[in-house]
């Protein structure tokens, strides 16, 4: 029967024991493993039910993941929304909301005539684009997108505005007419207070701006053609540490300025120790948007989530007690929540839980892919590895390949992939 069950569901069962939970006020011993069950909601109530499982851990199949333990409350990153006005219509595109302990199943698009006003929402399904038609030309509309997991509202985008216009613009490349207005993009969102925000167009740095003391930034880019663009946005914190890049692919329409709103740069993160003695604290710190809630995830067989806040300068710090971690390699990452917006998790930093404390060298900033060691990973580095592509490497270059790429003493597509990931432009 066991074989039969395994056969049918093809489950991978990971077994591990749960630790006791305690604080200065309470101790919860031998917690019972509980799987979150269904959820019922109405306008007046929410009901979370639970089901049991004999073995703790996570069960997965190709079609579902079941997490056991205490009740899980899923969240999702806020979609970043863009609005492109047209004749009596606005085309909306958004990035997928990334569910945490949930799969996004639906999106709703909201429309309003006033900024911050009452939005009227329409369910559009699990898609990333929607066109609002029958709009009045010359009227400014405001839009938002909400993500849902099986009826549960998980996240909401910032609002974006657009003004439909009757001006007929011949798309470039169609051979007729001329462009009457500038083709461009306006980016806006949150980074870190007074931090540098860099915007890359198709991998090339095109705009840099400084966020305000409130962490908000806005930048525009004009002179574009009609076509598909790949934009990346990243922030640099006060210590010169770069955030993970936020990437957005969008079709730019000729003669129209597209608004991309709600970009929420993920926090930077560092740790004070590269190795920490089990039971000692490790300090996890970084920079994010000012006065935001920071969720720190410490990854081990069991994932721990800790909450802290960033101050007016966006600085956050959390002292994590490693007594709950097993000896070995661990990692941590963080995300930020402000108002109704949620960033994605940022970069991951690793540390070892062992038998001694070793301070981390946070001054050494090795940028992967930075072959010419100028602190950036850009076209120069690309040209250097393109030069060595499918050629036998020199002894000097083998050393660099080991330090800055995957260390297999050859240049192939994998090295380019690593470079593309760490690209700074």
């Amino acid at each position: 029967m066991k074989i039969f069950s395994a056969l049918i569901f093809n489950l991978i069962i990971v077994s591990f024991a749960y630790a006791d939970f305690s604080s200065t006020n309470f101790q919860l011993e031998n917690p019972i493993n509980i799987i979150e069950g269904g959820q019922s909601t109405s306008t007046n109530f929410k009901y979370f039910s639970s089901t049991g499982q004999l073995i703790s851990g996570q069960s997965t199949s190709t079609s579902f993941i079941q997490n056991t333990g205490f009740l899980y409350f899923p969240t999702a990153t806020s979609p970043v929304i863009s609005a492109t006005p047209g004749d009596s219509q606005v085309v909306l595109n958004w990035t997928p909301a990334v569910g945490i302990l949930a799969n996004i199943t639906n999106y709703e698009v909201g429309i309003s005539n006033t900024s911050g006003g009452v939005f009227t929402y329409t369910l559009v399904g699990n898609v990333f684009t929607n066109t609002k038609t029958s709009l009045t030309n010359g009227t400014t509309y405001f839009f938002k997108v909400r993500s849902y997991a099986a009826g549960l509202l998980l996240s909401e985008s910032a609002e974006v505005s657009a003004t439909p216009n009757a001006t007929v613009v011949s798309p470039s490349g169609s051979g007729g007419g001329s462009v009457s207005t500038q083709t461009g993009v306006v980016f806006s969102g949150r980074a870190y207070p007074l931090s540098k925000v860099s915007i890359l167009k198709d991998g090339q740095l095109v705009v840099s701006t400084i966020a305000g003391p409130d962490s908000n930034f806005s930048a525009s880019l004009n002179g574009l053609s009609s076509g598909d663009y790949n934009f990346s946005v990243y922030g640099t914190d006060k210590n010169g540490l770069r955030s993970s890049a936020f990437t957005f692919q969008i079709f730019i329409t000729s003669g129209v300025t597209t608004q991309i709103s709600g970009i929420f740069i993920a926090p930077t993160i560092s740790v004070d120790k590269s190795e920490v003695k089990r039971g000692d604290n490790i300090t996890i710190f970084g920079q994010s948007a000012s006065d935001s809630q920071i969720v720190i995830s410490v990854n081990s067989p069991q994932e721990f989530f800790k909450n802290t806040s960033s101050d007016a300068n966006g600085i956050y710090l959390h002292s994590f007690d490693t007594s709950v971690l097993e000896q070995g390699q661990h990692s941590t990452k963080s995300k930020a929540l402000k108002n109704t917006e949620i960033s994605s998790f940022g970069d991951t930093v690793s540390f070892i839980v062992g038998t001694k404390n070793v301070l981390a060298d946070n001054t050494k900033k090795v940028v992967k892919g930075d072959l010419n060691e100028d602190g950036r990973c850009n076209l120069v580095d690309f040209s250097i590895i393109a030069f060595w592509y499918k050629r036998p490497l020199s002894q000097a270059f083998i050393k660099k390949e080991k330090e800055y790429l995957n260390g297999d003493s050859k240049i192939d597509l994998v090295d380019f992939s690593i470079m593309a990931f760490y690209w700074t432009g």
Binding site: G175, G203, T247
Partner: protein, 297 residues
């Protein structure tokens, strides 16, 4: 009967556990308007990626075809999802196109264009376009290979000759390539540490055809455009030239960007020499007045 069922389920169990279940994380496929063509007909095939729920940042491989049936006429990489080509799609033998490229920070989507190919049919029969050695790598900082399903394109060529209903494959692209930022650099690992220039533009229409580089005087005079590829070894290693890089698309639209001379010290020397010459010229021009003032007072 019972033992038969038991053996059946045990066998099934082992099959499921020891033969890895195939779960494709990305598809690479062709897209064409139809799959029946006439003889001597030109047709366009697009190469697309469906990244499913993955974010990918590097792709490479080959497209193969039977050259008895079709002939390659053109490859277009305009508006590609690939930012930087490592190997621009090109014919490497009479029946194979190689390509590899990367996209910084990755991309995802169900119909992401890589490039387009224009073929002309030659003889009738059933044939296909196939992918070979496809590698698709995840944007995870490790270059993890993604399980990929490559879907061939099967089509037929009839004995009829090409008719008037042939699709219009001409692209009307009047936009120049995108603006770009060339860099002058040197590195001990290439060109023996000599200075070179790197550049890359993209074209949202028909695609980049080639680049040209001109090394002029620091004032921008002189020098000829030379068709070049990035990285380009600079002739003037003193870096006193103003450099112009021209990106030309396949319709002949151009975008020129320039970089000022990098060697400021040498430039100052040049300015100093020019200044001295100017002073000599002025003195020569006013020599009579100066002579009179100095000696005939």
């Amino acid at each position: 009967m019972k033992s038969f069922i038991r053996i059946f389920f045990i066998a099934l169990f082992f099959l499921m556990y020891f033969i890895p279940s195939v779960s494709w994380a990305a598809d690479i496929f062709f897209n064409a308007n139809k799959n029946l063509y006439t003889k001597n007909e030109n047709f366009l095939v697009q190469v697309y990626l469906d990244t499913k729920d993955k974010k990918i940042n590097a792709v490479g491989g080959s497209v193969s075809f039977l050259s008895d049936f079709i002939e390659l006429k053109e490859i277009r990489d305009g508006n590609s999802s690939v930012n930087f080509w490592i190997e621009k799609p090109r014919l490497v033998s009479n029946n194979k196109i190689n390509f590899s490229g990367m996209t910084t920070s990755g991309f995802s989507g169900s119909k992401m264009l890589l490039f387009e190919i224009v073929f002309q049919t030659k003889k009738s029969g059933n044939t296909s376009l196939n992918f070979e050695d496809i590698q698709i790598l995840e944007n995870d900082g490790l270059g993890t290979k993604i399980a990929t399903k490559d879907i061939p394109f099967n089509f037929s060529i009839s004995n009829e000759l090409s008719n008037e209903n042939e699709e219009d494959l001409l692209i009307k692209d009047s936009n120049p390539p995108e603006s770009f930022n060339p860099f002058v650099a040197n590195d001990s690992d290439i060109f023996n540490g000599k200075y070179f220039i790197v550049f890359s533009s993209v074209d949202k229409g028909v695609g980049i055809d080639h680049y040209e580089v001109r090394e002029s005087s620091s004032w921008g005079w002189g020098g000829k455009y030379i068709q070049s590829e990035s990285p380009y070894l600079l002739k003037n290693q003193k870096l006193t030239s103003r450099i112009y890089v021209k990106a030309v698309d396949k319709m002949g639209n151009i975008k020129i960007v320039e970089i000022n001379a990098q060697n400021k010290t040498a430039l100052l020397e040049q300015y100093l020499i020019i200044g001295i010459i100017l002073i000599i010229c002025i003195l020569f021009y006013f020599r009579k007045k100066i002579w009179l003032k100095l000696f005939l007072k």
